[in-house]
């Protein structure tokens, strides 16, 4: 029952927030809506028994990505700005205009037909299995840790290279022009 409630709440949160991201005028609000959506997905993970993933989702996204986004929004002016190419019937300058929305929605709808076909055939080709209740209850943490250090150790290591590179790169790009110090960061996240 709890699971069901969680599922319903998460679903509603996810989808509703996603729609807000799509339709909200304020970019700041959109960021926060994304936060909601991500939290909702974390909830869905929980209903699927993926506790560690849910936790990571919350930590990385909520603690990292969305905050970054908010910073970026604030650094780039925080709210709406008036575009030089603003059209008369723009909903809001920052958000897009009627044309772009119709294009976006038509594309999404067309693409949705692919997704629909894909999902439908996937569904019908997967045999319905009973889910091992133990699997739901048991924490995945231990097994994930083991997998990460055995089967997927390479991916684990390479991702550190990726993160290292990304950090250095982000630092290079974002640092002020005249600064001479290159604060190379060797620490790894996670």
């Amino acid at each position: 029952m709890f699971h069901k409630l969680l599922f319903i709440m998460s679903t509603v949160l996810t989808v509703a927030s996603a729609l807000v991201v799509l339709l909200n005028k304020n970019i700041m609000h959109a960021c926060i809506a994304l936060l909601g959506s991500l939290i909702g997905i974390a909830g869905l993970y929980l209903t699927l028994g993926a506790d560690f993933v849910a936790a990571t989702q919350l930590m990385v996204y909520v603690g990292g990505v969305v905050i970054l986004m908010l910073f970026a929004v604030m650094l780039t002016g925080g709210q709406d700005f008036v575009s030089k190419t603003q059209k008369l019937f723009d909903l809001t300058p920052n958000m897009g205009n009627a044309t772009s929305y119709s294009v976006g929605i038509v594309s999404a709808a067309l693409f949705g037909m692919i997704i629909y076909g894909l999902t439908e055939s996937s569904l019908s080709s997967i045999p319905k299995k009973d889910i091992d209740p133990n699997l739901i209850e048991a924490s995945t943490l231990e097994r994930l840790g083991e997998l990460l250090l055995t089967d997927h150790v390479l991916a684990f290591e390479i991702s550190s290279v990726l993160l290292l590179g990304a950090l250095v790169g982000a630092a290079i790009i974002a640092r002020p022009d005249r600064s001479t110090s290159s604060s190379a960061n060797t620490s790894e996240e996670q």
């Binding site: 991201v21 994304l34 889910i131």
Partner: protein, 102 residues
Amino acid sequence: MMMSLASYLVISAFLFLIGIAVILSRKSLIAILLGIELILNAAALNFVTYSRFGSQDLDGHIMTLFIIVVAAAEAAVGLAIVIRHFQLKETIHIDEVSQLKE
């Protein structure tokens, strides 16, 4: 029934499509990054779902973990570039990002 494979897949598909709509509709660079996050999350959700209903191993979870990590890195780099661009051009409107063409 409600928490079946189908419902998860539909949610993720919906999320995915909203992501695409966001990417194509909104004119702020940051908003488009948000859309990308939505798409990535839709995929990640699928992985976990299939991990549960399909193969029943944890490879899906591992995939999702790495997706989250990579998305974080991508967001960091992307926002850095966006900010750099903003410093140079004083705009993050997507239509202004079209000096390079033809």
